[in-house]
Every structure is written in structure tokens, then in C-alpha cells.
Symmetry: D2
Subunit: 333 residues, 4 copies
Amino acid sequence: MRFFSDNAASVHPRVMEALTEANHQDTAYDGDVLSGQLNAAFSNLFETQVEAMWVATGTAANSLALAALCEPHQGIICHREAHIEEDEAGAPGFYTGGAKLMLLEGSGAKISGDAVDAHCAAIRDDVHQVQPSAVSITNATEYGRVYTPAEVAAISEVCKKRNLGLHMDGARFANALATLDCSPADVTWKSGVDILSFGFVKNGGMGAEALVFFDPDLAKATHYRRKRAGHLQSKGRYLAAQILAMLDNDLWLANARAANAGARLIADAAADRLIHPVEANEVFIRLSAAEAQSLRDQGFDFYDWGEGQARLVTSWNQSAEDIAPLAEAITAL
Amino acid sequence: MRFFSDNAASVHPRVMEALTEANHQDTAYDGDVLSGQLNAAFSNLFETQVEAMWVATGTAANSLALAALCEPHQGIICHREAHIEEDEAGAPGFYTGGAKLMLLEGSGAKISGDAVDAHCAAIRDDVHQVQPSAVSITNATEYGRVYTPAEVAAISEVCKKRNLGLHMDGARFANALATLDCSPADVTWKSGVDILSFGFVKNGGMGAEALVFFDPDLAKATHYRRKRAGHLQSKGRYLAAQILAMLDNDLWLANARAANAGARLIADAAADRLIHPVEANEVFIRLSAAEAQSLRDQGFDFYDWGEGQARLVTSWNQSAEDIAPLAEAITAL
Amino acid sequence: MRFFSDNAASVHPRVMEALTEANHQDTAYDGDVLSGQLNAAFSNLFETQVEAMWVATGTAANSLALAALCEPHQGIICHREAHIEEDEAGAPGFYTGGAKLMLLEGSGAKISGDAVDAHCAAIRDDVHQVQPSAVSITNATEYGRVYTPAEVAAISEVCKKRNLGLHMDGARFANALATLDCSPADVTWKSGVDILSFGFVKNGGMGAEALVFFDPDLAKATHYRRKRAGHLQSKGRYLAAQILAMLDNDLWLANARAANAGARLIADAAADRLIHPVEANEVFIRLSAAEAQSLRDQGFDFYDWGEGQARLVTSWNQSAEDIAPLAEAITAL
Amino acid sequence: MRFFSDNAASVHPRVMEALTEANHQDTAYDGDVLSGQLNAAFSNLFETQVEAMWVATGTAANSLALAALCEPHQGIICHREAHIEEDEAGAPGFYTGGAKLMLLEGSGAKISGDAVDAHCAAIRDDVHQVQPSAVSITNATEYGRVYTPAEVAAISEVCKKRNLGLHMDGARFANALATLDCSPADVTWKSGVDILSFGFVKNGGMGAEALVFFDPDLAKATHYRRKRAGHLQSKGRYLAAQILAMLDNDLWLANARAANAGARLIADAAADRLIHPVEANEVFIRLSAAEAQSLRDQGFDFYDWGEGQARLVTSWNQSAEDIAPLAEAITAL
């Protein structure tokens, strides 16, 4: 069984059905009926008026969000291991026209308001040094850690003081919400987030993420940038259909709960091996090369994560029965 | 019935089936089995070793191709009404880092080798003027005209003489091939084309086009650029599945023939109104405002195309029976 | 004697003296005493509070101005033969991050408010077409024509209606002013210009132009962009010194009057050959190949300007005595 | 007396004279006689065929060099405190179209071949991570440390192994050479450097640096990029004149020796306070706030460099007599 990544899992049947149901002629691009429902659907979910757009990938969503918050000559503060820094091939530099990522440390790929503040304070306020314009945080993080509303608000407070926008990379936003005892609104705009990349692909979608602008003004130029980046699909209704299916009846939350539950099972079996607390659907454990080999010999696939460490990611479609053999195998090591 | 654009039509059932068949876990990005079959499938179709990549949109395909052929300080020669100039929101400027589109005139949105040559000859060979690096032609063109292999070869000859790359925007490549009495190879690499954007979305696909590199070396950096542009979808197998379904048993050609046949029916009915010869699935006709209104009152939708002109586009799923009422209505005007 | 271009002439002695006088230690970049005087000097000249910056070249001045007025996904309307389009190697595309120049026709490289309006009206207001954000006009134009305050105001009216910024490329602003019976204020901010590239290099300077922002807010980000483009010279005082010397006692105007007077002499001698009215220091005449050769044989150098045409440019340091032989030679043809 | 920076010093009299001597008409841009002498002058100095270009600033020189070595989607390895990272406002990101600076640690702002190798080894060879394409080192470094030919060669060896270009930021190349017992060739192309930014402004020039390409092929596109960046000054002969004056009779070396000698005097007086070995014209010392105040009260100006540290930079025009009071004051602290 594969624990490489949730982005390789299959697509949820209700998403597939939604594609079939959408399969008739409609206006191209985002002029169709389904795309027209996104703003209302997300406004309802977030309990405030938002503007929402589909894009095919998290990288595009993140980069478009950052381009909305940052001029080419400015900078974006993020964690050194943020996806935008480590795994997006320099996409933020492309979309922003060369803005600089400013890297902070922090356990579990989390950053703090204090760290943001200290970083800004160390930048000379002159034209020779790149001035920051935005902060980007990932929730849940690249290590499966979760930001609480209070933690987000602490960062946002610094952002407001220093006139920085705040972006949340929510490739695993559903997984964070499934853990947090709060509403989607609580951990986003109520805590000061300006733009959210709301991921669905890792959570049962096929090829559709949502960009959610809590300040609709920020969305304006993004409509142009999305087209200019080749991300305005002409049959956009099939992306809208996926997203609406995921929102319908909170499928996104159910899927994330299932994935998180799988991670919990592994975490419990590997309690003495955990490198990070398990708060979403990723489990990072200490694992010797021999142990890793043993697990692989038993048919479990996963990524090594540096020397003596491994990453195991669970998906929406892995049940407790699916996970049990791995949990047992880890226990037996 | 709608004749707005082929990009609003529904998705072909066999493409939908292919999505369903692909719906199981596989390696992410383009490491999956289906994506791995693209090079062979297109090499077979084009009777030479090519490198092929999926991307979601024609705009992305075109822009990535141009970025492979043009440095930021250079220029790309195309028709004044080329899609890359008129309808892609400046995407080529984004992907190339600011290269300049150099616009030629030509009937039916076609350009000639002579026009390319004359344009180049008029550029001073100094650092003050942008120097061209590539030519982009559309086949079938934005006016539904078709380039023959001989016409492409004539352009390519100038390209070789002047050290220019040659890109073909084939958003309606299938429609061109359905008309031309030649092989896909004849009108592309055998006529000097370096990179082809091979469109499927307007022809029954959902959200997958193919970039075909006849010189695999040109593809190398494109792998990075595609990711950097947020176009490397993590569930790429669903794009590969669409394309493979379209190639299978020449579905792409059958669909294009159907669409072209529909356009032919309209063209025959509107023979005395034609603005351009009808060689693909687009029909441009002279139509007074009153006539346009009359057609719309009968339930036919289409775009006005400047004063007294209209554009009618047929799709893969419109049968002769579907088209007949429009043909009759035009005849009756 | 050379009539190639005013940009090849020598530097005025008072500018040279100013360099010598500035030759002592001072704060680097633009923190020196002389740079600190620019805002006041230009505010005085323009009779309003402006922000002024030195840069080394007109290309940099123009591009920084355009970047202040135009987002990467937008467009800039200018004449087809504008310097920014024809002779700056794509610099506007570089500085703006890929914005598109939108080209208008017009006699003598002049555009009209009506032409701007018509161009904008023809652009679909959707995300597929690049939307204009600014207009750039050259005064005096590339053909030595002058915009009057009324003509500028007519363009500005359209700009205000359509929410476009207005830039004036004043590489030969001095030559225009020397002809116009108006103040610098009249033909710039009082007529709606937002940013002026005020040229000195063609008019007796060495390597310093001024960017003048009539809306100081527009200057803010330009300070960063100038540094980011490598145009914040560390010994900026030598650029400020040049500009202040040119402004002192209206040397800029005296030099331009001298150059214009030279052009007038040629124009009078070539009255029946003029292609454009002569309003600044450039003379475009019909001249057969044999006639051109004859002039060159007599020691006069100049550029051919297409078939049967020639361009003669006079400089600040050419006296009536210097010009007389050319005038006579033309008369004698 | 000011010890802020060598970039604020006055211009050497022989450079001023050269400007005066150049003050007559000549061909514009770099078509003049003096610009035409640069290749030969630098080829002579470096004992190999090079291509040399003037630009006004070190930032422009560095950025043009990096753009010649790095595609937009690639990365440049440098020290965390390199000028290109810390003090150029993101210029490398602008000129390269968004390439990423990859930051290494190292004492005295020096990096080692091993550190470069280790950094590269940690990058996954896939399209998700930015792949390095070049290394940039500064000689002398931002802390006044010098790379020996052997140290440069060790870095170059890794570059060759990993297919990386090698750029040397020589804003204080003269100061390094004045210390090293080697030829300009030894520490550049003979040690594997591809492009050198050869600084003159900090060393008695006014506004001219040289870009030296040891592989003339790399210079080709740079001619276009320089113009496109607005750095092709129309009166380029005044930049060439400065550089030729500096090369004449090794004025560059004499000036650097004078500046280094001044730093040596300070270093000797502050031997127990030195933070870095003094190898060029910069002295970094431990200095309490009270001590700093005391020195300032005596008329010595300099930058604080973090808590309890100060930077003192000497210039070409400061004699032993000029420096002595500072040396004594430090001794007396």
C-alpha cells in the first residue's frame, strides 16, 4: 500500500459523478452555471462575502495569491521549508516577476508572529534591501502541523503593524480543519488571512483547487493573471463541478477526517518514533534504513525524509482496515 | 443551438470513460503509466521520435512553446489576429519574460514566408531593435483557414535562413488535418515545424492539450517551466488519459471530420455570404444586424464579428441533423 | 560635419565645470547635497510640487515611468514609431514585466486623443484581451513634431475617461519647449501629464536625464525599481550636478534654441523637400541616393531614413556658421 | 573624516582629465573610438582574448553577468551576505526573470567549493526544486576577505563538475589584486571564472564599471540585455574614458594599494579588535557604543555593523597622514 502522498490517490466517486453531470454544453471559461455558483458557495462556507476562483493546481493558486500581495521588487516571508520555497520550481518568482522569498526557521515548518516581526526589524528601510510585502503560511504545514486561529492571529497582528498581506497555503486546509475545533472562518479571515489557497486535489479532487479572496478587491487583477498564466480553462465548468461536489454536504471535511484518522492510527503505532506531533494526515517518523527496508519488503511504500527518517501520508480513501497492516508492521519493528 | 465556440461543447463519452478507467492510485505528476505512454503515442502518430507533454490549456501550450524558442529580449513573428496576440491576455509576454510579438498582415489570418522575410529584412541588425527569434503560425487559423505543407515549408525555409524557430498553434490542428490530404508529419516536422500545440479541448477533450516537440532538446527546459507555471498537475494521469483516448483509433480525426462537415453544411447554405473559404469548422459570413437578430430569434447563438459579420463555429457533437435547421434558416434569410 | 544625432554631440562646458565642482566626497547614492536639490529645482521650474530623480538614460527613464503606470498584464498605448517601441530593445517589456505596447498610427509620430479613444473602444473588456493602462507620447516626437498643450490635454481627457496614466517621453522636451510658446507646466501637468522623462543628454548633458513625477505617489515604488535596475549610481552627485547645471539660468532652453535654430536654417534651405514640418531640431527631407551621396562627398554625415529620405539632426553646439555650408549645399543640389 | 564607504570618495584627477579629453563629438553608444579600445585593453591586462563592456554600476554589471549564466527557472549560489543578495534590491531577480539566489554560509562572506558541492548534492534532481546554474563569489568579499587563485579554482572545479557558470563580483577586484601576489589572469579565467564584474567606481572612477567576459560567446546576448536595461548610454565614450584612464599605467592598482594601505594602518591600530583579517580596504572591528560615540565625537564617521561592531572603509584618496588620526584615536580608546 502506498503512503507516498495524498496527491496520488484516486478521485472520489462523487467528484467523478459531478463531472459526468456537468457533461453538457455551457458557456466557456468561467461563464458557466457552475463556476457562477462558487462565490456563493464559498461565501456561505466562510460566513462572509468572498470571491472564489478555480485553478488546476496548488502551485498556481499559491503563486496567483502571492502575485496579488507582492510587487516584483518586494519580498514574501515564509518558512524555509514552505512548499512555495522548496517544491514549486520557483513559481512565486515567476508569477510575481522576481519577488524574493524570505525564509524563517520554525519547528514543524511553522513560523511565529515574533519571528516575522524580528525578520522585518532586521531589514534596513532603504532601497538597497528588498522590503517584505506579504507573509505566507501553510495550514496544515509541510510537516502536518496545524496553526490555530490564535497563532494565525498573532502573525496577522504583525502583518497589520508592518503593512503585510497574509496568505494561507491550504493545500491541506481540510486536514487542518478536521483537527481544529473551529470554523473555516475562524482560522482564516477572522484571524486576518487575506487570501486562501483551498486545496481539493489531495483530498479526493481531480484537478481543481480554489483561490478564496476575503478581500474581493484583491481578486480583480487575479482574473487577468489567471488567464495570462494559461490557467483559465475553457471548460472551467468541470473544475467548478469538482469543487462544488467537494463542498456539497461537507465531503471535503469527511474526506479529511478519514485521512487524518489513518494518520492517527499510524501515529499511535509509532508513538515513540514521531518526529512531529501528528495533527493532520502526515506522519514523520524515525526509521532506520533496515526498518524502512523491512516495511517496504512487506509492501508499504513511502518516502525517506533525510537520513533515518520517513514520511507517511494517508489519503481520503484509506480506511482503518487499509491502515491496520502498516500500523501492525510498525509496532512489530 | 449554440455556435459560439467549439470550446464550449461537451466532452466525448470515450474521454469520460477514460477518466473513469484512470481512476485509481498511480504515481503523481507525470510519473504515472498513462503519462509515460505519451511519447510513444505521439511518436507513432508523427512517424518520428518526439517528446510530448500534457498541459491543461492551449494558452499554456502556446506560451511554453514560445518560451522554448525565444529569449526575453527577442521577438516572435505572428499574424496580427493570432490567438497569442489577440486572446491570451499577454501570456506570451509572461512566459517569455517580455518578448515582443511582431505582427504581420495576411488574408484569413495566414502569413507567408515572404511576409516573414520582408519583416525581418526591415529590422535593423543592432541592439536597439528587438530581433526576432521565432515564428508562430496557427493551423487551422483563427479564420478557419488551413496551411498546406507547402505553405508551411515556405515559411520554414525563411526561418532556417534567418535562424528562427517555428511554432504551430494547433488548437484546431485536428480540423486542419481533417481537411488536408496529408499526414500529421507532413504538415509539421516534415515541413519544418519545431513545436506543435496539439489541441484536444475544442475537439471533445475536457482539459488536456499536448505540446509536441519535434526536437526533444527543446523540451528539456520546458519540463521546468511547466512546473514553474503551475501546470504540472499532480494527478496528471487524468490529462494523459484524455489525450490517449483522443488518439485511440483516431477519435481526434473523427471528431474533427464531424465538426468540419457541419461547417461545410453551413458554408454551402451561405455560399454567397462567405468572408473566408471554409476549410475547417469555422464559418465567417456577412450578416446584417436584422438577419443576425432573425437567426437568434430562431434559437441560433453565435458571435458577431465586427459590423455586419458573424462567426459560426461547429463542434464535434453536432450532427448533420443538428446543423440542418441553421442551414435552412440561413438559406431562408 | 555630423548630423547623425544630437546624442553624439559633446558635453556643454558648464556641465563639465559642474562635474569638476562636484568632485569632492559626499554621501553616496542620492543622499548627497546636489541630489537633494533636484525636487526643489524641478518644482520651481514646473511651478508645482514634483518629485524628480536622475537616471543615466532616456530608455531607463521611460521604462521606469511606464512601470509606474502599468501592471505586467496591462498595455501601454503609443505611436507605432515611438522610441519605446522602435529603439529601446524591448526595455518597456523588461521593466513592466511583459506589458504590451499598443501601437497607433499618426502623422509625424503624433497620436490624437480620438485615436486613443478608438483604440480602447475596440478592445473587448474581458480577461482575454490585454487592457490598456497608460498612454505614452513623445514631445518633441521622433519626427521632430511638437504637441501643443491643447493636443496633450485632448489626449489626457481620454486618459481620464478611461482611467489611463499619461507619460511624456521628453528626450527632446527642451526642443519642444523652445518652439512652444508656453511654460513647462503648461504642456505637462497642466495638460494632464503624470510623469515626464526630461532629457538632457541630447541637449548638452553627459549621462543624466530626469524623471519628473507630477504625482509624487507614483515616485514611491520607482525608488526601489531604479535601484533594482542598477540605475542608482553610487556617485549620483555627478548626475545631479549635470542636471542642475542644465537648469541653471535656463541653459537647457538656450541649448535647445540653438539646436532648433540650426534645424530651421536647414529647413529653410530644403523647404521643398520637407517630409514633416520642422518644429524642433530634426529635419526629414526627400533626398535621392545621388543627392545624398553628393552631400556626403562634401563632408556632411546623416542617416538615410528609408528609400529616398534622409534625417538631419542638429545639436546645441552647432552655430549658424556651422550649419550654413550644409544649407548651401542643399540649396545647390 | 569619513570612513563610510569607498563609493562616496571623489573621482581621481586623471579620470576627470580623461572626461575632458573625451569631450568632443564621436559616434554614439559604444561605436566611439574609446569604447572600441576596451576589448584590447582588457585582453592585454588579462593576457587572453576577452570581451569587455562598460556599465554604470556594479549592480548592473553583476545582474547582467548573472543573466548570462542563469535561466529564469534556475538558481545562483552565493554567500548569504553577498552584495547581490543583501544590497541590490533584488536586481538579480529582475535581470534573470526570477531566478533564485541560493545562500551559503562561510566566514568572512567567503564560500568554499565543498559548500557549493554539498548544497548542490542536497537538491533533488527533479522539476519541483530549482536547479542551480551558476555560482557568484565576491573578491574581495563584503568583509574585505580575499579569495586566492587556489580557492577560486577549488570552487571552479565543483562548477565544472556540476555544469555551473562562475561569476566574480569584483566591485573591489583591485583591492584584492593589490593584496594577492598574482596576476589578474591568475585569479580569474586561469582559475575558472567565466565573467568578472570589474569595479572602478569605488576605486577612483565616477560612473563606469567593466563587465569582462572570458568566454566572448557569453557576451553576445548581453549586448542586447544591456540596451534593454537602459544601460547603453548614448555618450558611452565618457564611460570608456574613465575605464581606460584607470587601466592606464595601472592607476587602478595604485589606487587600490593606497586604500589597502590605509586599512592596514587602522588594522594595526585595532589589532585586538579585528573581527575579520584585513586583506583589502575594509576593517571590521569590535567597538562598544561608547567607543563608537567617542570616535564620532572626534570627527570620524563610519557605519555600525550590528551590535558592538563597526565597519571602516578606506578610499584611494586617503593618505597615511589622513588615516593617522583615526589610528591614534582607536589606539587611545
